[in-house]
Amino acid sequence: MKRLLIILALGGLGLGLAAQAAQEVHEYRLDNGMQVFVKPDRRAPIAVSQVWYRVGASYEPDGRTGISHVLEHMMFKGTEKYGPNEFSRIIAENGGEENAFTGPDYTAYFQTMAADRIEVSFELEADRMRNLLLRPEEFAKEVEVVKEERRLRTEDKPNALTYEQFKAVAYRSLPYANPVIGWMNDLENLEAKDLGHWYRKWYAPNNAALVVVGDVDPERMFELAKQHFGPLKAETLPESKRLREPPQRGIIRTEVKAPARQPYLVMGYKTPVLASVDEQTALEPYALEMLAGILDGGQSARLKRELVRGAEIATSASASYSAFTRLPGMLTLSGVPAEGYDVADLEQAFTEQTAKLRTELVSAEELERVRNQVIASQVYELDSVFYQALQIGLLETVGLDWRLIDQYAENLRQVTAEQVRDVARKHLTEDQLTVAILNPQPIEEPAMAARQPSGGRHGG
């Protein structure tokens, strides 16, 4: 871990600020292949324990989309030893907070508790890593809950529907085309036995990482991890083929019609990530992170300054890119046009922004601002044990090394204005662009035979 305090010129913030305040990460590996990471943080007598599995929506074959997420739900439905929901009851009774989340590249489970109770979490997680019972009657109810979750998160949210379709048409080959929650058809056809296969295939100690951050002793955590997870048997994991998107050869456009009051635009350019670059292109993801920060790293960044203020062409405008995914992704631009403008105007404005990045060098002040924001946010992130553990788990499950956390600010510091221009020229081109728009349909209000309060207004 970097301990050197480097003071940048021009009043820049010390890169070592976070390193000074942060503790070291201790890394172990059990004989069965399970990784264990422990980072002490003694500010409060609590700890978070997270178990990360290298499986998620991007591992799912057609017809089985959403299976990782449904399995995540079923992980609370009991083992041979504990009944349905007993996991949650035991954690609650111990004053713990717990939950789980599924992403394209990972499925993760976490408990935050008083540090002296963290062993409870280890025992329960170790138990459900290999001994889950997928009771058909529990599955039948839980898959209905997941369908309600899909209705809540996607079906009834016009922007979410648009974003889902945007990804679906953008990718020819990569499984990022599928939604994490799964297509409704696939949820309807999913069976408990499918989950059983998925569980046995992926939930094994050699496909998992345990991350603990908090007021704990690393050696003691390692001993406890050995005791609880050590006896679990390793499995032969399925071989994953290297996936890459075929070259895109022209713009892709799509439209979603849904009941809505305002339009919405999403644009995405295919971009590399840290896990996909070679030696020659190693800095490209950092240049793209820098570029995204220049576009949308706060209220002073270009999209807010020039489009939301300035031209006032958008009521919201944002840019997003992550270097930390398992497979290559996209740099996206999205927003809502302001009154008097339409999605075509906003698309034009976004296109002008990317054109400017291809032709003009970004300023030293902008580079400096993004770097300082990154350095500061690394300090702020130390206020949360959850977030510290998340960073380690995320990097390890997408095939990177947790040490990148320490190198990140330093690598960003190396990015020059020329490199930002070069990645814009190489990747932000129209032939690698996908554009999705929401075409709002009337929110019809069918007459209801209901008691309507007098003077009540429709639609809030």
Binding site: A44, A92, R369, M448, A449, R451
Partner: protein
């Protein structure tokens, strides 16, 4: 392998009244603002939140004014434009925040404590707080953004149910006003109104400054002085009227072309500092405040798979805030979900919590208390709440003990006295399904 039961016993004996709660320091600035401060030396950062009694409960007949005033503060202040304010903050890695709720309106700052960034961030915040410009062009832009927010709410059944519930429950009371206003009310708002609102309510005697971070008391005092010196002393906002409970059950149905119906059921609940706060809080934790292991979670989601999210909560405010239960389910099941929720509530009010459930909830709340005060940002939230609602400064020190003191009889008695299922408001937003299509339970 050591058994889980063994681990539990061991762990439970370790909890107790030994948890260290943050030491809250308290004083007043010369201008009269109340300050609550916790020194947190471990990380080189400082969090500040300045809270005013200037939320939408103060909107009067101009809904949206509180939010507009709050949102336009950083769009131009003192010598700086919106661009310059954003640039000054972000170039030193500082994060400026703001929000306006029903009771509270606030500005917040997270900054490094290195001298140079700290100085820039504080200078900028001071101008934003005390010398906002309220230029017409900035006000118009914020009004447009608020208009866009209204539209996005109008396409969201979840947002519609929230708005309609508060509107129907509170009637003429200020809590009926939605912070985002209405299309008609926004169209009539002016910079002069925002300036007057700021002059009247963003004043020292109506302010609480909460601070957590790596500065010592003398520096904290200097910072609080710097921020508030230019605030007029002013007057605290007047006490809000008490809302009238509904005299009979009421049902509001809003047709919306969604896959799910969103339900919200409730009544007037309690205020901050309410004498029944602890029995109602602990009781609600059992009923619907503890996620999937709560009674509502068990009945609606775990047993029947009706809804992804189901909950109940009291939202205590200056005046009595609402009590509500909520869920969303596909339209054909809306009636069933509503019935299950009401039955669960009635049973709970009649019988109170079961001993085992109550014991579990108390263990969850007290055992989880260290988590609630484990970060600077969480402590800051408590400071703002304690200061704003005039709760005792030893609120956190006594919290665990107050929870422990609650018993089943007190919960049952308080729920029976305070909650009235026969006089509740039910709001449903969704597609109406003919009763024939509804699944009977």
């Amino acid at each position: 392998m050591r058994s889980l039961a063994g681990a539990l016993t061991l762990a439970l004996t370790l909890v107790g009244p030994t948890q260290a709660t943050p030491e809250i320091q308290h004083w007043q600035t010369q201008s009269g603002a109340k300050v609550l401060f916790v020194e947190a030396p471990d990380l080189p950062m400082l969090d500040i939140r300045i809270v005013f009694d200037a939320g939408s409960a103060r909107d009067g007949d101009t809904p949206g004014l509180a939010k507009l005033t709050n949102a336009v503060l950083d769009q131009g202040a003192g010598p700086w434009s919106a661009d310059e304010i954003a640039q000054r903050m972000e170039s030193v890695g500082a994060e400026l925040g703001n929000d306006s709720l029903r009771d509270m309106a606030y500005l917040s700052l997270r900054t490094l404590t290195e001298p140079a960034p700290l100085k820039t961030a504080l200078e900028t915040l001071t101008q934003v707080l005390t010398a906002p410009r309220f230029a017409l062009s900035d006000v118009d832009r914020i009004l447009q953004a608020m208009g866009a927010t209204l539209k996005s709410q109008q396409q969201s059944p979840g947002a519609i149910v929230k708005r309609r519930f508060m509107q129907a429950l509170y009637g003429d009371h200020p809590y009926a006003i939605h912070s985002d206003g209405t299309e008609a009310s926004l169209a009539a708002l002016t910079p002069e109104q925002a300036r007057a609102f700021h002059r009247r309510l963003y004043v020292a005697n109506n302010a609480v400054v909460a601070m957590v971070g790596a500065v010592q008391r003398p520096q904290a005092e200097a910072i609080a002085e710097q921020l508030t010196a230019a605030l007029p002393a002013g007057e605290p906002a007047p006490k809000l009227p008490e809302p009238e409970p509904l005299s009979e059950a009421r049902s509001v149905k809003v047709a919306f072309p969604s896959a799910q119906s969103h339900l919200r059921i409730g009544q007037i609940g309690m205020r901050r500092g309410d004498p029944d706060y602890f029995p109602l809080y602990v009781g609600n934790h059992v009923l619907g405040g503890s996620g999937l292991v709560s009674r509502l979670g068990e009945e609606v989601r775990e047993k029947r798979g009706l809804s992804y999210s189901v909950y109940s909560y009291f939202s205590p405010m200056h005046a009595d805030g609402p009590f509500m239960m909520g869920a969303q389910t596909q339209n054909a099941q809306a009636l069933q979900a509503q019935t299950v929720m009401m039955d669960t509530l009635r049973r709970f009010i009649e019988h109170g919590p079961e001993a085992a459930d109550l014991a579990r909830s108390k263990k969850n709340i007290t055992g989880g208390f260290p988590l609630d005060i484990a970060s600077n940002s969480k402590i800051l939230g408590y400071l703002a709440m304690i200061g704003f609602y005039d709760l005792p400064l030893d609120y956190l020190d006594n919290f665990v003990q107050r929870i422990e003191a609650v018993d089943a009889a007190a919960i049952r008695e308080a729920f029976q006295r305070r909650l009235h299922p026969e006089r509740m408001l039910t709001v449903v937003v969704g597609r109406q399904v003919e009763p024939a299509e509804s699944k009977a339970e």
